[in-house]
């Protein structure tokens, strides 16, 4: 799997899930956030050279597509959580500053945005967990070790802990509103940042570079 393919696949999943959510919740305005995000990622996907890179036979197992799909699904759901959290902060800022420009007129209420944040978290977290488990199963089969402190694995663990804490906080301690929105945004920033630049900053065996 090449980086550009990964990016395209991810974008496709994200937009797909958004459309599903849109069907149920009539949340067209979320498209204002998902749209540009999808655009930038598609653009990035094009920017990467399209050299053919054969997947080594060693990587061709059932674990790999399963891992990629689950991890991407989880992250795509988190992208939506990110979108609604951003909207929450904007709407909250509006209310606090007592200024109401017209752009935000069609924003859903804080309560709705907060509930969606929870919904996405509840769906995204198990998907991400399964993604990490299948990933480590695959690593166990092919690298001989389930956990090798690979930078990608570490970053996954960090975001998993972050989202886990948030979900736990929401369920047990009743965290919500601004706090939940900020944590969701931070979590997604880590995921996205690592997804886009991680391989350059911390070369790992994951991603496009197979050894």
């Amino acid at each position: 799997m090449q980086f550009r393919e990964a990016l395209s696949f991810y974008t496709w999943l994200m937009v797909g899930i958004y459309l599903l959510v849109q069907l149920k919740y009539r949340l067209a305005v979320l498209g204002c956030f998902i749209g540009p995000l999808a655009f930038i990622m598609s653009l990035a996907a094009f920017a990467f050279a399209a050299g053919r890179e054969e997947i080594p036979p060693a990587l061709k197992t059932y674990w790999l597509p399963l891992h990629v799909t689950l991890a991407f699904l989880g992250n795509a759901v988190f992208a939506l959580a990110f979108g609604v959290s951003l909207m929450y902060l904007l709407q909250e800022y509006q209310l606090k500053s007592k200024k109401m420009p017209s752009l935000y007129e069609r924003f859903p209420s804080l309560e709705t945005l907060d509930r969606l944040n929870y919904l996405f978290l509840v769906w995204g977290f198990p998907l991400m967990t399964l993604g990490i488990i299948t990933g480590s199963m695959w690593a166990g089969v092919h690298w001989g070790k389930y956990w090798s402190w690979d930078p990608r694995q570490i970053s996954s663990a960090v975001t998993w802990l972050l989202y886990g804490t948030l979900l736990q906080g929401r369920i047990a301690a009743g965290w919500h509103g601004k706090k939940a929105a900020v944590l969701t945004i931070v979590g997604f920033a880590v995921v996205l940042g690592y997804f886009l630049w991680g391989d350059y900053l911390f070369p790992s065996r994951h991603g496009g570079r197979f050894e």
């Binding site: 509006q94 007592k98 209420s109």
Partner: protein, 419 residues
């Protein structure tokens, strides 16, 4: 033709206005004027207008002036003429569309005018003074109003204090029907906002007042639950929206106590609306997470901004009106039924000729001259028989409001578009 809040003072409008009991009679009188075929009268507190369909605008205007002059008129204020405006043809269509879309209202975007126009249209319809043209014109104006409302921001912005409060509540809360309002104090403004919230779905209301008897009275008025003044802090955890409208000199709620309440509520959002003469609620409450505090000045500020915003949307609305005026005029031109009948005849005649030629050239080659003639007569007669009923129907005199629909249907069904 008419006068409105800009051209005539209220004393004049009041006098000239049509009494609803005499409306049907007035409508009939308008339509009995020689040059006028159809008429609708709109008479609200801000405008008195007579909208008519006439073949000759100038004559009709003269006759209408005479008709309006029969209305009562107050002393002074110059002549009636000085307050009247007259629009004809496309300007008249545009005017009605603008009025229906509330672009001509005192408060631009307020929706009542549309309902009023609808009422007066139906009154005229009942009186039998509406024909094809006004029928179409008014229904188009309802559509224009709807388009303006949904496609521009003109009506979506709250411009009164209580509607701003409801608007803000909707930004905070997903739905209002499962929320609880606490009304503290008997101030008039507070009651107004509470009413507005109830109108928007809030069903649970607690009322408290320094004198319990007054609280009971208010509770009965609002179908809410009265609460003793010394008890209300205990009930705060249940309240999602808190309206303060007392003239108390001291602050009712401090930031610290609200913070405690929020903790008890698991930080569920609270919306404080301070309408007191002096501050009822500590302004620092607004600094708390999940608590929002707006006072009367804030609400008025938002309302003012919204009103400015409405005005900015006007040009968009004017564009919609422009489009619709053009579309209506095009329809008006196509209304003439004669060309349609001719076109229909021609179309069928063409078909008949073509098919005759085809058959005579092939299968019916052997026919004698006489037989050919008989066939010609028979097919022509068939066409006439087929066309007889529809044409009589179209030509039938009288105010058949469906006529335009039939003409249009014919054009569509037989592809009689402009060539």
């Amino acid at each position: 033709m008419g006068l409105n809040h800009r051209t005539a003072p209220v004393e004049v409008r009041e006098k000239v206005a049509f009494e609803s009991s005499l409306l049907a009679d007035s409508l009939k009188r308008v339509c009995s004027l020689p040059s006028i075929q159809e008429g609708v009268i709109v008479s609200t507190c801000n405008r008195v207008e007579v909208i008519v369909a006439a073949s000759d605008g100038e004559t009709a205007a003269r006759e209408l002036k005479g008709f309006l002059a029969e209305q009562e008129y107050p002393e002074g204020h110059g002549g009636l003429d000085s307050h009247l405006y007259t629009y004809t043809a496309d300007a008249a269509v545009r005017h009605l569309f603008r009025v229906a879309a509330s672009l001509d209202s005192m408060v631009v975007g307020e929706p009542q005018i549309l309902g009023q126009i609808k009422d007066y249209y139906f009154a005229a319809h009942e009186a039998g003074t509406v024909g094809t043209i006004l029928h179409r014109l008014f229904h188009r104006s309802f559509t224009v109003a709807k388009r303006v409302r949904t496609e521009t921001g003109i009506a979506s912005r709250a411009v009164s204090v209580s509607s701003v409060a409801v608007d803000l509540a909707r930004r905070i809360f997903d739905r209002l029907d499962d929320k609880t309002v606490m009304l503290i104090g008997a101030g008039k403004m507070g009651g107004l906002v509470a009413r507005h919230l109830q109108g928007s779905g809030v069903s649970s209301l607690m009322v408290t007042n320094r004198t319990f008897e007054r609280a009971v009275e208010l509770a009965a008025e609002f179908r809410g639950n009265p609460i003793r003044f010394e008890d209300y802090p205990r009930y705060l955890t249940l309240a999602d929206l808190i309206i303060g409208c007392t003239s108390a000199p001291e602050m009712l709620l401090e930031r610290e106590s609200v913070e405690r309440v929020l903790k008890e509520r698991k930080r569920k959002a609270m919306f404080f609306i301070d309408l007191g003469d002096r501050r009822n609620f500590d302004p620092r409450i607004h600094e708390l997470d999940n608590a929002y505090l707006y006072n009367l000045d804030d609400l008025e500020g938002v309302a003012r901004e919204n009103l400015k915003g409405r005005k900015a949307e006007v040009h968009k609305a004017e564009e919609i009106v422009g489009e619709e005026v053009t579309a209506f005029l095009r329809w008006l031109e196509s209304l003439d039924q004669v060309p349609t009948i001719i076109a229909l005849r021609q179309r069928l005649e063409e078909i008949r000729k073509r098919e005759m030629e085809k058959s005579l050239g092939t299968g019916l080659k052997e026919l004698s001259e006489r037989q050919r003639e008989a066939l010609e007569d028979m097919t022509a007669a068939m066409i006439n028989k087929i066309l007889h009923a529809p044409i009589t129907h179209l030509k039938r005199q009288g105010r058949d409001e469906d006529e335009a629909v039939y003409i249009e249907a014919l054009k569509k069904l037989f592809d009689l578009g402009e060539k």
